[in-house]
Structures are given as structure tokens and as C-alpha cells.
Symmetry: C2
Subunit: 367 residues, 2 copies
Amino acid sequence: MTAPDLAAISTPSRLAEPCEGISLEEVQLAARNHGMPLEALRYDVTPPGMHYLLTHYDIPFVDPSTYRLTLGGLVSRELSLDLDAIRSRPQVSHLVTLECAGNGRARLEPRPVSQPWLVEAVGTSRWTGTPLAPLLREAELESSAVDVVFTGADHGIERGVEQDYQRSLPVAEAMRDDVLLVYEMHGAPLPPQHGSPLRLIVPGWYGMASVKWLTRIEVVDAPFEGYQMRAYRVRQRYEDDGVPLTRIEPRALLVPPGFPDYMSRTRVLRAGRTTVEGRAWSGWAAVNAVEVSTDGGRTWESADLEPAPDPRAWARWTWTWDATTGSYDVCVRAGDESGRSQPVDQPWNRGGYANNLVQCVPVAVTD
Amino acid sequence: MTAPDLAAISTPSRLAEPCEGISLEEVQLAARNHGMPLEALRYDVTPPGMHYLLTHYDIPFVDPSTYRLTLGGLVSRELSLDLDAIRSRPQVSHLVTLECAGNGRARLEPRPVSQPWLVEAVGTSRWTGTPLAPLLREAELESSAVDVVFTGADHGIERGVEQDYQRSLPVAEAMRDDVLLVYEMHGAPLPPQHGSPLRLIVPGWYGMASVKWLTRIEVVDAPFEGYQMRAYRVRQRYEDDGVPLTRIEPRALLVPPGFPDYMSRTRVLRAGRTTVEGRAWSGWAAVNAVEVSTDGGRTWESADLEPAPDPRAWARWTWTWDATTGSYDVCVRAGDESGRSQPVDQPWNRGGYANNLVQCVPVAVTD
């Protein structure tokens, strides 16, 4: 038989045609990856199994009993650690809100064809592990060190490039106190789909930086330009150099009020006083303002913002609504101490990244 | 403001137009519900968080500390039990394979517009609880008892009908030894999305029968005709009476060989000897044959079938493939001791139920 044509199975990225529905290819991704059902915004810590999940390739099976993490490249002493050695190091837990860089993609027009997230690719968990920085200090970085490259065990082909999933951090980011090598989620060993037995967690950054199934750390003397570094960039045209994605843009989401229609997910709410609630977060700075609108964003009122349970996690907000019979479009938006806030016009880019357009939920209030 | 038009937000079921892409409404369902990534077919017991999940409305929050289950209707003595009372009863665990009745829907042509499952709405877990039958015996069913109706705390509107999710079983099915009131999944309390604090598990039946967030059991003297009993039927036309869905049709699935292309999910495999593996199940009888094809179903070879770990769970199968360079369509099909097997032509029906069409996976074998 003739050799298969890999170019035919791994085609360039593209935009959907106007009015082109979502394809079965995109649904293949949507059926295996999943968002966090928005009613889980009621929890400070997302219950196990409800945290969003995005895997580029397959979930690999990595045997914890034979697992080793290697740390090499531009270091004075290479390290090779098994799981017991990593677990015996100082242990730290943080509550961290993670969000997929592609969250909001499927609402963009034109729609970049990829994992079709609406707004639900988010979650907050308690991640437990050991800080990366002391390990890097033990290995002694050479003075020429620029980037730290993290390699996962997940292997696939993407836009024609066969690869292990790899992402880098600049040395200064990798040396942050709260960048962790994580072996527990919610006080239990990492489940396979969240990176068992060991993953990186980079608080404040979009999820693509938190490499799962971590097998190798390599220190290099130039900015790393692997596939995923070129892919996760905000660009208007395919040929643009673009701007790399790093920290999470501010966003607030609300628990959809009332109860849903099965198919349209439109909400039905009985008239009366109700508490609208949700969470807000930003990877740039603390959220300092959340506003709610019931008229699709024409007028806004301030919501009450509670302290975040961890500076790396979302904050709860509430707003009292005296809902009277009628049709509403309930929206929420957040701003943070860096001055960033959520746009009312779509922040379009070719990869469909960092779309923190204001969330609006249609609500039918009945007697 | 005028009252909202509920008919406009809760429209009748429909079929997609020819070549109509999948809508954002369907993607709203796909983003919150999720299938089991097929590489998890390597596990006898699906790891927590990877089991398929379908919720019609919202995941309700039911407080375990104030929870009560009531059992009433045509019984001599009504029962009202808190969680401690249920947990103090005889405890039983079963490995059970559950599958959504809508699994395979999105592959049908024309496509019924609803949750767009491909083939992955399945999972096997260890469910722990107490058998229902002794509870029914304690309550003493009246001689006129026909159906047992199970009501969940999940509330919504569907095709214009506001409802708590409700399904019934005929008395004889409800009295089966292995129908359980379940409070643990994988040895841990049920997570919110799988029915916390108590759910029904009906082994062998499609998932719609295993009511989550169970709050009330009622014995009635006529076949129950609630919304979900009318909805989950195999019918060719909207106006047909149809046939109710009960037990799971036989199906085998394979772990896709090699590694995937990110977008198309087409597999790339290095030439050489490889073990193709997967699981097979049927709710009607034990699986007794699994066959594999590499040419899209033109020729078939027998796979090796292992004993199922529980009569209510799937069985592992393996098949050795000496893969040479070329393009293949790797398919698998199962048959059971009742004589049922998987069709090669789509078993179309208007709700998109019980589509156990043979799974085929495109594989590019390279040097």
C-alpha cells in the first residue's frame, strides 16, 4: 500500500466560513475535552471532575513507579528525580484559577476552527506540590540561561508538526515562588487527565503554560520557539508575528439564574428577589470591580465583591435582583487593579485566544 | 415588560438540515457534558472525572445533611430516610458499565439536534450503595402496583414541559437484586455531577434510567407516562408511538492506535506489530464475540475476549496487528449471547438513540 499523506490529515489552521456550522472534527474535541458547568461557579473550589480540561493529543499513561523527572541543559548539575524524591521535598498548596487560552473561541465571528469553547473553560483547584525554584537553584543555572523548557509525555501531530507538548517560561517566571511541580489535586494523587504523576502549575497564566505529564525540564540560552510557543500567540493574520499569550485577562462569570431549557439553555426564573452570584478573576492583578447589567449591557450596577480565598484564585461576587416579569439579558463584567477590564466588542484574533468578551445570559422572568 | 414567550425558548425537537453544521446550542451541551476520552478504554474502571456525563438541566446542589428520600404511593407504609439510615443498610458494590442512550447521535444522517455524542458517552465505575428491593419489600407494595417512579432534584423545561427529571421502572425491574440506591462512586461520596448525595443505578439499562439526585420514589398503578418516558423512545416519525428504550445494545470500542493529529484526530502509527485493544459490552447478555477489521469492514478477524470483571461491566479484548505502511480504517464490532450484534448501516431513529453502528478509526501507518 502507498504511504499515507500526513499533510492531508494534519491541515493548516483555518477560519470557518460565514454561517458555517461547527464541524464533527470540532465536536470530536468538544466531546472529549470539557468545560466547567457554570452552576459550579457556586463553589470556591471546583469539585473533582468538573474542572475544565483540554488535552491536545491523547491522555498518556505514565507509570508512577518508574517515573523520573530530568532537569538538564544549561545547569551545573543535572538532576534526575523519582516521584518519592519529589514528594519528600518541601510541600506547598495553592488555590489556583486556571483558564484555557482558547476560552470564548466559539463565540467569535469569524470562528477559528479548533476546540469550540464558549465561556466555560475554567476551574479552580487546590494544587499541591513542591516549588520549582529551589530545584533550579540546586541545579545551578548557567549565566547564559534565558528560557526553561518543559516537556510533557503527550505526543501528537499538529498542523503537520509531530511533537511532544512543550512550553517554556523565561527564567524570571520559572523562578517565581508559586510556580509548582504538582502531584496532588484536591488532596488526592493527580488523576490521569490532569497530568499524572507530575505537572507544572503556573498561577496567573493561561493553562497552556501548566504543562501536564511533565517528563523533562531543560534550560536553554535563547527564547524557545517550539510549536506551542508559535501557536499560542495573538495575531490578526496567519503571517503576523503576533504577541505571545501569558497572563489571564480579567473575566467574571455568573451562575445562570433560575432553571434552564434543555436545548437552548435559556433560563426561566420566577419573579421576585434573587441573588445573582458568580466568580471573577484576572491573572494580571486583583479584581477590584464587578458590575452587572440586566439589559444586555446598556446600564450597569456594582456587585458586591468578596475577598479571594487565595491571590491566585477567583473571587466570589453577589448582586441582589428584584426580578419582575419580562425578558432580560443578564451580563457581568470585571476589572482589575492593573486597569484591565472586559470588552463589549469581541477582541478577535486568528487563534481565538483570550476572548474575554462580556458574558450575557438570556433570562425569562415569569410569575 | 411583557411576559416572556416560553414557547420561543423551548422549541420542538428537530432534525438538522442536510449539511447543516452543529449549532452553538448543541455546543452548549457538548461543552458542559462530556464523553470518556477513548484512550481510557485501557482501564477496567474509568478513572474519576473521565466517566461520561449527561445532565439534562443544571447540576443541583442537594445538602447531604438535610437530605431525605421518601418512598410512597401504593405502599402499606411510607418511608422517609436520611442519608445515615440509607448508609446503615446492607452495602453492595458493583462494577457497572453505563452508556447514554443518545451515544452515536451526531453520526446519524439526518442528525437529530440534541447533545451531539459521537461514540464516547460511556464509562464503567464501581458504584456502592444499598439494594432497592428490600426497601420496597419493607414498604409493602400494594397488589395494584405496576410502576415505580423515581424523581430527581434536577429541574428544568424541555420541549415546553417544566419538570423534575422523572423515570420509572416496572415493578419486576425495580425488584432486581442489582438495582441500587448509590451513595459512593469509586469508594468516595458521589460527586455533585454524578448525583450527590444519592442516585439510582440500573445495571444493563441505558443511563436515562439511573436517576441522579434521587429525592422521591413513588409506586403507581399504571405505566408511568411522564415526559422522559415519552422522550426516550425509538420512533421513525414524531407522531409514532415508538418503542421504549431499556437495555443497552451491544457495542465494542477500540483505543485509537498510535497518536493523534490534534484537529482531525486521525491516528498516526509506526509500522510494526501492535496490540489493538478495547472494551465490549451489552446490556442484554454477555458479549461472546468481538471482531476487528482494518479495511473499513470488508473483512473481519476474531479478537481475543477476556472475561468481564463483573457481569454488569464491559470486557477487555485484544487483537494483534502487524501493521505495514498504508492508510487503514480500523473497525470493531461485538455480538452477545442473545444474538444481538452491531449494524453496518446506521440504525436511524428520530431521537438519535441506541446508535451502535460499528466504530471505525482512520489510521495512517508510517515507517
